[in-house]
């Protein structure tokens, strides 16, 4: 039985701080050896998970959703209204997902100020900046400044909606489809959709048109 006691954890953190090896790689090695020796871990399962996160899960899943929304307005309407039902059509899990759409008059930005909540199963491992104190502290208070650092010049009259992921809901930004892609098929459109555009730190995807041809 676990005693869910924050004071006990704070005390253990102090002890760990003093006793664990100083290098992260050594701390990790010690933990893995220990868990294997205790019969709590099979290292081949760790390898398998690393493959899953490195090879299988990534922003291409989110890009597929966005491309479908661009070519199928009815799907987009369903996605924005009930992402769970819409993603079922693509054989994807959309439970607790909220899709929010960028338009000419709205920009959306996603953050988790309290930890690192992120739609990992659709976008892969979050970028390091998403987990930094700089992004977490400023995305809610100075979103325009943050966007400028990402090279997004947002007109003052376009309101920003910042979504702070404080519960188990996860947010997916549906960026705007760039002009000049009217005759593109879904697969090609998906190549335009960047990870950052689905977090909201990129807005205009037209600069990727040349590379997606």
């Amino acid at each position: 039985m676990t005693k869910h006691d924050p004071d006990a954890i704070a005390h253990i953190h102090e002890e760990l701080h003093s006793h664990l090896p100083s290098e992260p790689a050594l701390r990790v090695k010690a933990l893995e050896s220990l868990l294997v020796e205790k019969g709590l871990l099979d290292s081949s399962a760790v390898d398998a998970w690393i493959d899953v996160y490195s090879e299988e899960i990534g922003p291409k899943t989110g890009a597929r959703i966005v491309a479908r929304a661009w070519v199928d307005p009815d799907f987009k309407a369903r996605l924005l209204d009930d992402a769970k039902a819409a993603l079922k059509e693509l054989d994807l899990d959309g439970n607790h997902l909220k899709a929010v759409e960028n338009t000419d008059t709205i920009h959306n930005l996603v953050v988790c100020t309290l930890c690192s909540c992120y739609p990992l199963w659709l976008l892969g491992i979050p970028p390091n900046w998403y987990k930094t104190a700089a992004y977490r502290s400023r995305a809610v208070r100075d979103p325009r400044g943050v966007l400028e650092e990402f090279g997004v010049a947002l007109a003052d009259d376009i309101p920003i909606r910042v979504w702070d992921s404080t519960a188990e809901l996860r947010y997916l930004v549906v960026p705007q489809r760039p002009q000049g892609t009217e005759d593109w098929d879904e697969k090609r459109l998906a190549k335009l959709v960047t990870r950052n555009s689905m977090i909201g730190t990129e807005r205009d995807l037209s600069r990727h048109i040349a590379e997606a041809r």
């Binding site: 676990t2 399962a45 998970w49 390091n128 930094t132 208070r141």
Partner: protein, 218 residues
């Protein structure tokens, strides 16, 4: 808790480093931490909220300076020690002096295929109606829970409106103490200028997902 993790609106952290490698892991050990966390046998009374609480309790200097997955390692090491699965000495040396009894065989590589498809669901049925409806004006309570809580300091005491209702979700403040119960969950909108009078975008809004007991009617 008013911990170092509650970063929304804090100042002085400087620009965001927007240039970083695209690779999911920046060192091999980062992937191994994530893989271990997914694969290890754990006490059945751990949950996501207890983990978040244990991460929040990392010493502030470590919280702000250690790489992300190193913080995960630190949190899980503390949880293992707290639950009696390992001692601090064992965690430091990597050598076991005892083995927990009666635990199942750990997850194998073959099990990962199934585990990765396990759906996540935090919604629960409860036998009472939500107190608020979309459009209602609300105020976030002024004092957060002393333990784990998901009401950020920057929203406390601020006035917003119910944007949408999501049914009842597991309540983190209780769940982090090992007590699973559910409460109505809402997305609550706040004007940026209500949160920060000096906000640059006068029409900007910040939305948070907040449980019913974090809110009061006004």
């Amino acid at each position: 808790m008013d911990g170092i993790h509650d970063l929304g609106g804090r100042q002085g952290f400087g620009p965001v480093d927007v240039h970083e490698p695209e690779e999911p892991f920046h060192a091999p050990w980062e992937g191994r931490v994530l893989g271990m966390v997914r694969a290890m046998t754990r006490p059945t009374d751990w949950n996501i909220d207890w983990f978040r609480n244990c991460r929040e309790l990392i010493e502030p200097v470590d919280y702000l300076t250690r790489p992300y997955y190193d913080q995960w390692l630190q949190a899980y090491a503390a949880m293992l020690a707290n639950s009696g699965f390992a001692t601090v000495e064992e965690l430091a040396s990597g050598k076991a002096t005892s083995r927990p009894d009666g635990l199942p065989t750990p997850m194998s590589a073959a099990d990962v295929t199934k585990a990765k498809q396990a759906p996540r669901n935090f919604q629960r049925e409860i036998d009472r109606a939500p107190a608020f409806a979309p459009g209602d004006t609300v105020r976030a309570i002024s004092h957060g829970n002393a333990g784990h809580t998901r009401l950020p300091a920057y929203a406390r005491g601020r006035r917003g409106w119910i944007e949408s209702y999501h049914g009842a979700h597991v309540f983190p403040d209780a769940s982090a103490r090992g007590d699973e119960r559910a409460e109505p969950l809402y997305t609550v909108g706040f004007a940026a200028t209500e949160l920060w009078p000096d906000a640059r975008g006068g029409q900007d809004h910040v939305f948070l997902d907040l449980w019913e007991s974090y809110l009061e009617r006004i």
